[in-house]
Amino acid sequence: MTFKTVVLGAVAALMTSTAAMAEEMKMAVTTSFANSGLADVLLPEIKEDTGIEVQLLIVGTGQALALGAAGDVDAVLVHSKAAEEKWLAAGNGTHRTEIMYNDFVFVGPQADPAEAGAAEAATGALQAIAGAEAPFVSRGDDSGTHKMELRLWKAADVTPEGDWYKAVGQGMGAALNTASGMNAYIMSDRASWLKFANKGDLGIVFEGDPVLFNQYAYLPVNPEKHPHVKTDLVNQLEAWLLSDEAAELINAYTIEGQQLFVYNAGE
């Protein structure tokens, strides 16, 4: 009977799916890192040099750290220093290794009606946007990018609220889509912005303030808390990330001629 074959086939398909391959490890990374496209360059090289197949879980910073704390991944690569240190203090990881940084930019309507581009500092740009009550899209998802944005509002001494401030509670891409649709201002990491395909009328209106630098760190999950984590592979990967080859690859990565990441491990 055909029915039986279908059932057997489905069961067989399920069985084969769980057969694990040898050298795999899981790493939770932020959406902005994955969207930059750097992973597509690094992962094949890592595979070639170390034989490790790094499986990426692309999530927000909050979820990435939660996955690490639960032991569902072997390592975490995120960019939110305060949250990372709290995470380490809770015994979830062994240590924090800074790898590289990229930067955030303010994106907005190319005409720049709020004149944010004329500001001296990032805080000044935000004050200009708030003063003009120009539409501003916020990630609102507790991600590293969102936390950075909130810190900047605080530093600018502005409480962002009102109709013009839209917290969408989504990832970078979805937030950019919203901003593009509304012709609104938004803070984005440079990589996500450059890779973003639906720019519409938006462009970079403000960039370059050092407070906008965004430090990425590599955090292995604590094997004492989660004995099953693949510490060997995690250490091998860390060694690779600290190698000259990694430095070259990262510094050489460009989109539209712009360098996205600055390697600063060991500084």
């Binding site: 055909t2 399920l14 990426l56 692309i58 639960a70 569902d72 890779k195 099953h228």
Partner: protein, 227 residues
Amino acid sequence: MWQAARLVATFDPDLVEITALSLRVSLGATVIASLIGLPLGAWLAVNRFPARRFVIAILNALMGLPPVVVGLMVYMLFSRSGPFGVLGLLFTPTAMVIAQVIIITPIIASVAHQAIRELWADYHDLLISLQATRLQRIKTLLWDGRRALMTASLAGFGRAIGEVGAIMIVGGNIDHATRVLTTAIALETGKGEFDMALALGFVLIGLAILVNLGLHFISRTERGARW
């Protein structure tokens, strides 16, 4: 859009891989959910027992459960910190199948219950008159109701193949491991690659249509297009 059409036309290996995984996960979930849901629906239609209304109410309520919630529940269960963590099933297709089974079993059972109840109303007098045993009754109803039951399963499959919230959480959308059409669509949309996302959407619809047509074709050749 042209780029997407080219991917399909050339059987791009990545596209084939995620399409195959979509099919495997959703069909697997549909088969398992049907094995649970169809007899459950028939049983609820034929038997009167005190908790029956309650069970049906639960089924209907479960149909409205947001997939994200199911995903979170399954994540909690299979997380390394959860009760079944040692199985190491999180972020595997198996976990995705489990989540989808939970999502679509209530739908399949509910549609099956509805169909079998109508059939049972028609057949009741005859089956009682002929002294059919309880098992014979259920067998007769399942067999004669098989087309309606196939619709129930296909409704479940439709929900499974288009589902993204739960499998995103328990599968993790890992490239070459747990990425399926829907999670790939979410990813491409996030990148603002609307053309690609839309193209994958068309592949998804095409796949669903193929599966539906395929099943109807099988059921037709089996009995001749008579009913």
